[in-house]
Amino acid sequence: MTRISMTVDGVRYDDDVEPRTLLVQHLRDRLGKVGTVVGCDTSNCGACTVLLSGKSVKSCSILAVQADSADVTTIEGLAGDGGELHPVQAAFHEQHGLQCGYCTPGMIMAAVDLLTENAEPTDAEIREGLEGNLCRCTGYQNIVRAVRAAAESMRTSVPSTPETAEAGAREGVTT
């Protein structure tokens, strides 16, 4: 077992894990962060996307031990304290950016990452930026529209940011 410590959605967790434990397994099975889903299980589909130190990664293709000391944001950490949706979440809702919804957590996390780097992406840049995320309902048209709408709303208002490390005072030890 290897001791790891990570901050997930603003809460610090210290755990002993088997080195072979995947980050997505750790998030779902140990920490109960089941908002992050496993899709293809082969690093193709991006449904398991989370932010690792602010950058999008596929949590099915990272060991939990690789995320030691890191700050992880999952789909569950995007909304504000009062439950108000993150602008990307709100845009997916308003623009009908989902059909079955299975790819949605990963799509939203990938879109948040993309918009952090490029606040005003063209449609082509949105499509390229989401190349690591598959929607088997093929609902891409509305997904692109949702990301475009989110970008607009984030540029015109004060964004509600996910809770990050400063909330680490609330410690959650699960072992």
Binding site: S43, L52, Q66, A110
Partner: protein
Amino acid sequence: MIPAAFDYTRAASVEDAVTVLAGAGDDGKVLAGGQSLLPMLRLRLAAPTMVVDLGGVAELRGVRDDGDALVIGAMTTHDDVTKHPLVREHAPLIAQAAETVGDRQVRHMGTFGGSLAHADPAGDLPGVALALDAVMSVAGPDGMRDVPAGDFFVDYFTTALGASDVLVSVRVPKLTGWSTHYEKFHQMAQSWSVVGVAAAVRRSNGSIAEARVALTNMGVTPIRARGVEEALTGAPATADTVAAAAARAMEGASPLTDGTASAEYRTQLAPVLTRRAVMAAGGL
């Protein structure tokens, strides 16, 4: 799909990693970003008993200017390589190719050195390293040594790295006065190259003074298209001479048939993509 159990060491330094690997014999494996290794572990195509994680070794990350060359740390991610101003200025071929690897998520974790050490024949960066005459700096039980790219890629998924070796950095000569292009043909946005061509051209007075061309996935290792380079050197910089030179792309190539494409298909693709790559590199 869960990997088989293994022991894990988070290396504190390159020396530490080499020591642990030496103790593990042939059953040790280096973990860089893990974007190739994790899928292999999960599919149990690899089952090392000891995994040595280089993620905590800060000295392996970053790009520095070393006079007539850049030195790229092996653990520098594709994302960082792509955006690094020194790489964009002095080795834009690397930035262009690294930007096509996988997808954003993969590029955030996957590393330059990891791609080279993995030596997937369909990987884009080995061919680029070969075209640029990069030199690998390798740490092993007997100390440091340099391995030119031409000697580094020895076979299918096999490099000159021994079981206890760690790729530390890659020295890339600056190509002043050259222009470059990476032409990648693949079937889906995030998929591997069916064939890729890395081209570097130095023009002078309407002619091509020098050219370097390397092919991805046209053999078990990346290969230099020497026939193409020979035909281009000293030739007038015109579409006709480039097309004639590109027709020699298959000299020395021996493409594989795999689940993505047949050898015959690759044989058709290589000259076409070589022509496109050289035309783009030469500004034609």
